[in-house]
């Protein structure tokens, strides 16, 4: 909390610096020398000088002092910690120290010697502590709190001093020819750069949050079993029970993922593309304005609704239809790749159509004129000139669609089921990687068994898969983009 206060002080100093610097700059403008930057840029520069280094220092100081405290606590731990491990003892002490902060000052002044005595007063303040917190930790925790207070105070003073120094420097920098605008803009640029790295940080975060469990999984299940296994049968994690060691073959899931995505694309791409062509090339602006958002609504319907539709309506319909066609025995199962692909395809129509529509409209008019001027009909122009020219963009759109298809869970669960088969028959059930990620994570399985951990391995595999797909997409787009223009 106190670092928040310090931060507030720093900001206040910054505001002061802003006002002073701006006034100074305005006063200096006597019309003789043309000032380089406008007054408020000087103000902002002073503000930034007063706040940024100080805030940065504060952040480092806070991190540094917690690292220091940690090692300090480690050093203080007796050889016999009395609990399972030393790190646990340290963390117990830390929570104890945090708890002590909730107590009144006089209570802190007269801390009881044993944890048993201390616990009720802490519990009264709503502090939950592990029962095997040891007595010796009380004194260590109290001392640690003192150290922390001192560190905090030093840090606060230093931060404020730094801030004041920055403000003073910033104000002293105010001169007609000083390039305050350039300085401020350079910092803004850093800010923008920072924002754009969030994508990378997210990726790193995703990989890191799955990596340890993935490694743990591969510790127990050999790589080859996972990547080349053709049977997915993880079994329920009944430790010691017969047949508890399952098989974790990726192949059936991968095949299912690709197969279902393929069928979905088979539905979404022709329909979406033709809709886009019609909207871009034939439809009047009024029709287009009505149809485009309507189709986009398809993408907004929660996927569970599609799933239920497949489960309750479409699946049985296809089954009965096939029964009627084949005279008795149905060759389409109620839950099948076909059903899932169909429904998912419908959901993805707007993704294809909206993106392709934009891309087709972006094909230069000169291409269209060139073809029409030779006496080609509209459709000939579209088929032979516009679509080939728009191909890279369309490929990109299709890949994005494929990514969405790969990532979809609910529809697959309800329409194609969860059985990991390996089949070529589109009328049978199959399942996908994403489905298994969700199910293995949310089941009744033991949480640190391979059965659950495999979800993380699947997650990373899928992540790598889509990454490769996107690199390929980028490559294709680049390669073809160079061709026209």
């Amino acid at each position: 909390m106190s670092s928040m206060l310090v931060l507030a002080i720093v900001v206040a100093i910054g505001i002061g610096a802003f006002i002073i610097a701006r006034q100074r700059a305005a006063a200096q403008d006597d019309g003789k020398v043309k000032p380089h930057s406008r007054a408020h840029y000087h103000g902002w520069w002073a503000f930034l000088l007063a706040t940024l280094p100080a805030a940065l220092f504060l952040a480092l100081w806070v991190i540094g002092s917690s690292v220091y405290l940690n090692s300090h606590l480690h050093a203080q731990m007796p050889a016999q910690t009395g609990v399972a491990s030393e790190p646990l003892a340290v963390s117990l002490t830390k929570s104890l120290a945090n708890g002590l902060r909730k107590l009144d000052p006089q209570q802190v002044a007269s801390l009881p010697a044993t944890f048993a005595e201390l616990r009720p007063s802490l519990a009264a303040k709503g502090v939950a502590l592990a029962t095997d917190t040891q007595d010796y930790m009380i004194s260590i925790a109290a001392a640690a709190n003192k150290v922390q207070d001192t560190l905090g105070l030093v840090g606060a003073v230093a931060t404020v001093a730094l801030s004041l120094a920055g403000a003073a420097y910033g104000i002293s920098q105010v001169m007609p020819r000083a390039r305050a605008r350039n300085n401020v803009e350079r910092l803004m640029l850093w800010g923008l750069l920072g924002a754009s790295t969030i994508a990378i940080l997210t990726t790193i975060g995703i990989v890191l949050s799955m990596l340890f469990q993935t490694l743990n999984f591969f510790h127990r299940v050999p790589l080859s079993n996972f990547f080349f296994g053709t049977v997915w049968d993880p079994r329920f994690a009944a430790a010691g029970a017969v047949g508890s060691e399952g098989q974790f073959g990726l192949i059936p899931l991968l095949a299912g993922t690709l197969y279902i995505a393929f069928v979905a694309l088979l539905v979404a791409v022709p329909i979406g593309l033709m809709s886009a062509v019609y909207m871009a090339e034939y439809a009047s602006p009024r029709v287009r304005a009505a149809v485009k958002p309507s189709l986009e609504l398809l993408a907004g319907i929660p996927t569970i609704v599609y799933g239920i539709f497949a489960l309750v309506t479409l699946g049985p319909f296809l089954r009965d239809l096939s029964a009627a066609l084949a005279g008795g025995t149905s060759f389409i199962q109620a839950q099948s790749i076909l059903t899932a692909g169909l429904v998912m395809g419908v959901m993805l129509i707007p993704v294809v159509s909206s993106l392709s529509d934009d891309i087709i409209t972006a094909v230069p008019r000169a291409m269209r004129d060139g073809s029409l001027g030779l006496g080609a009909t509209r459709s000939e122009t579209i088929k032979r000139v516009i679509l080939p020219a728009a191909l890279p963009g369309i490929v990109g759109a299709i890949l994005l669609t494929a990514s969405r298809a790969i990532g979809e869970t609910m529809i697959v669960v309800l329409a194609a089921g969860v059985a990991a088969n390996l089949t070529l028959n589109p009328f049978e059930a199959m399942t996908t990687i994403t489905v298994k990620i969700v199910n293995q994570l949310t089941g009744d399985l033991e949480f640190n068994s391979p059965q659950t951990l495999v979800a993380f391995a699947l997650g990373i595999t899928l992540f790598a898969l889509t990454l490769v797909m996107n690199i390929v997409a980028l490559y294709i787009v680049r390669k073809y983009r160079e061709q026209y223009e």
């Binding site: 047949g243 489960l311 109620a334 949310t442 059965q451």
Partner: protein, 318 residues
């Protein structure tokens, strides 16, 4: 934090919800506990993260906590865990309400759903395609069974109490499978030709599947069946009709206990935690006439409930 936080099994969730809601209504000074769904595994994982404000207080589980899990709990400082058994969940077979009556024995289920069975002394891929091939008394329906998926605790019960029980081990041995382990495996291997369909979702999904395939057989929780008795017809197993009574008496063979686990370190610290557990354990909640029983929980026998209350009050940990 002024609110009890619960996470875990989605089987226990409806019960915990009822208790939480009534708890909130009865004890005006406490907020209604938050009950997360997400599966026993995920619940216990959160439970075992450690002690303190940003960890949960209770993990619901439809299976007992595993040794490994207790160990990781302890490694994280969660030393004292109190186990509470709230009752039993009956697992029933049901078909569409308009169909004929069904009477099953474990052997039927084994013969219908196992991957391999012994025919004429040889172990072969399951050739049965209709129920009446398994047992002449059953209707001539195509075999289509909706069984719990591998993520469900119910699956384990299904395997041990039905498949394993219905498996003719002697015949297997005679057919040349001698290794004990191999026998165990063969007994619980389920056919993968689309006749046995895993359901990873909830029972609503199974119901929807039966709705759309009137000759399907589904596995449900007793509670779910009772809530949908107008659409479903339950099958007897070994001649016993499943009901709270027959399960409580131990006559109906397929049931499993339901649990929750309490973090003792949070007792008396998180407001309402102790009261919530106490409230849960009253007969008013889990007794034979309680709302939970009405919803479908099979109450534990009187003595067992009393034992649970006493053990909790005494602070017995695992």
């Amino acid at each position: 934090r002024d609110q009890v936080q619960v996470a875990g099994s989605s089987t226990v969730l409806p019960y915990a919800k009822i208790v939480a809601e009534q708890f909130g209504e009865t004890f005006n000074k406490f907020k209604t506990p938050v009950v997360e769904s997400g599966g026993s595994g995920a619940g216990i994982k959160e439970f075992c993260k450690g002690v303190g404000e940003n960890t949960i207080d209770i993990a619901n589980a439809s299976r007992p906590i595993k040794k490994d899990e207790i160990k990781s709990c302890q490694d994280a400082g969660v030393k004292e865990i109190q186990e509470v058994k709230i009752g039993y969940d009956g697992i029933v077979f049901a078909t569409d309400a308009k169909g004929p009556d069904w009477a099953l024995v474990p052997a039927d289920i084994y013969k219908a759903l196992a991957a391999k069975i012994v025919v004429d002394g040889k172990l072969v891929d399951n050739p049965n395609t209709k129920w009446n091939q398994v047992n002449a008394k059953l209707p001539a329906w195509d075999i289509a069974a909706y069984i719990p998926g591998e993520k469900h605790g119910t699956r384990e019960v299904f395997e041990t109490k039905l498949l394993d029980a219905g498996c003719d081990k002697a015949a297997l041995k005679a057919a040349g499978v001698t290794d004990e382990k191999e026998i165990g495996k063969t007994c619980i291997a389920i056919r993968k030709d689309g006749k046995a369909i895993d359901i990873d979702g909830d029972y609503t999904e199974t119901l929807a599947r039966i709705d759309s395939n009137k000759t399907g057989v589904g596995v449900f929780g007793l509670a779910f069946y009772e809530n949908n008795a107008d659409k479903l017809k339950v099958a007897t197993v070994s001649g016993i009709t499943p009901s709270t009574e027959t399960i409580a008496k131990g006559e109906y063979p397929v049931s499993r206990p339901l649990f929750f686990y309490v973090k003792k370190a949070h007792l008396g610290v998180v407001p309402g935690l102790k009261e919530y557990v106490d409230f849960f354990l009253t007969d008013q909640m889990i007794g034979p006439d309680s709302p939970l029983a009405e919803y479908g929980l099979v109450s534990a026998p009187e003595a067992e409930r009393k034992g649970q209350r006493e053990a909790f009050d005494a602070g017995k940990t695992m």
